[in-house]
């Protein structure tokens, strides 16, 4: 953590939490690290999680709600596989630096855009567009092109090679450095 703040937070106020992980309790660490996959599809899922952790359902629920308020947890829920229930693409643009903030703000304003990052490259603006179907997706891309005056390069996923077990934060139970290989 010598070089923090490689990303400048634009919308949030969470930048002060530079050593967030170290301040967490053991329960919080386990909840964050060990339950990123295989959510129990049972009547009382948090009771089941609590049992695994030797805690109580009420404490697990309170803790998860608190972690969500603090911004460490985005949500408890599911991730749908790209393109399995709609259409999506990764789009890239090369935007002159002087226009970047305005163009980025315009793009972020679409509810169809869920990620929008500046990256170090000639193609400096990268965003993900997700829509209910191909037609809607294309209309958003076209709209962004015409409003910004810059071409959009669309790179839809052709194949997904990733087995998603979540991200090892290195604070919960041992997972090992690699999950396979």
């Amino acid at each position: 953590m010598h070089r923090v703040n490689t990303i400048t937070e634009v919308n949030g106020q969470l930048n002060t939490q530079q050593h967030g992980l170290q301040k967490l309790t053991e329960l919080e660490k386990h909840l964050l690290n060990d339950f990123q996959h295989n959510l129990p599809f049972v009547s009382r899922p948090f009771k089941q999680i609590a049992k695994q952790l030797g805690s109580s359902e009420a404490i697990v629920i309170d803790t998860l709600n608190k972690l969500k308020e603090q911004g460490f947890v985005s949500r408890v829920g599911v991730v749908f596989r790209a393109n399995s229930i709609g259409a999506s693409t990764l789009a890239a643009m090369a935007v002159p630096v002087s226009e970047l903030e305005n163009v980025a703000a315009m793009i972020s304003s679409y509810s169809e855009v869920n990620h929008n990052y500046e990256r170090e490259h000639h193609f400096n603006l990268w965003f993900v567009v997700t829509a209910r179907d191909e037609e809607m997706l294309n209309s958003v891309l076209y709209d962004i092109e015409s409003r910004s005056g810059h071409p959009v390069m669309s790179l839809p996923m052709l194949e997904d090679y990733h087995i998603d077990l979540g991200f090892d934060l290195g604070v919960g139970f041992e997972r090992g450095q690699e999950s396979g290989v």
Binding site: L39, P45, E118, F127, M153, Y161
Partner: protein, 192 residues
């Protein structure tokens, strides 16, 4: 490139979703669950109440979506950045069509790789077809992971670029809107 490294046997099975038909109820459930479960004692019953389904039906439908691989992952969805993993790079590789599948499956197994996709090249300006997202606590941490992959799979000869992110303008889960609406009216607030 070292092609003696085989992916785990289960990876040879397709990880793409099987053909599944959704009915209206599935669609309503998918739309509702995208923003997360209520964190309450009976989250599925709570969802069911909004959808006019009973708890067991919600659970059965989710299990079916999960089995059919439409659900990629279920659980606690964390924010890397807030948890101290502040550096992330998209590393893009120009890999021959013959080996992209094999290499993709190898790379897709690493914990520090959070996405590993085959995407089209856009020539002449964009020759890269394999996209990996790599997170780390710092830039050096990310670069170390990339070097590890290069050494492990002998990727020195493979053309690649490292695109560090420098600013996050927006980040949240995907939201699919079931109802159509005017494009310009659907401006929203970011939660990330």
């Amino acid at each position: 490139m070292d092609m003696n490294v085989n992916p785990l046997p289960y990876l040879s099975e397709s990880i793409l979703p099987r053909e599944v038909k959704f009915d209206e109820q599935d669609q309503a459930l998918i739309v509702l669950i995208q923003t997360g479960l209520p964190i309450s004692t009976t989250p599925y019953a709570d969802l069911g109440e909004e959808l006019g389904m009973d708890e067991s039906e919600v659970i059965e439908r989710l299990k079916r979506l999960n089995r059919s691989n439409i659900i990629k992952r279920s659980g606690v969805i964390v924010r890397h950045h807030e948890l101290g993993y502040r550096a992330n790079a998209m590393v893009v590789w120009n890999v021959s069509d013959e080996i992209i599948g094999k290499l993709g499956l190898c790379l897709g197994q690493f914990d520090f790789i959070t996405l590993c996709y085959h995407r089209p090249r856009r020539l002449p300006g964009w020759p890269y077809n394999l996209f990996t997202m790599i997170h780390g606590k710092s830039r050096d941490d990310v670069l170390e992971n990339i070097q590890y992959l290069i050494n492990r799979y002998e990727l020195n000869e493979i053309e690649h670029e490292i695109l560090f992110s420098t600013r996050r303008f927006k980040q949240r889960g995907a939201i699919y809107h079931k109802l159509s609406g005017e494009l310009n009216n659907r401006v929203d607030k970011t939660d990330g």
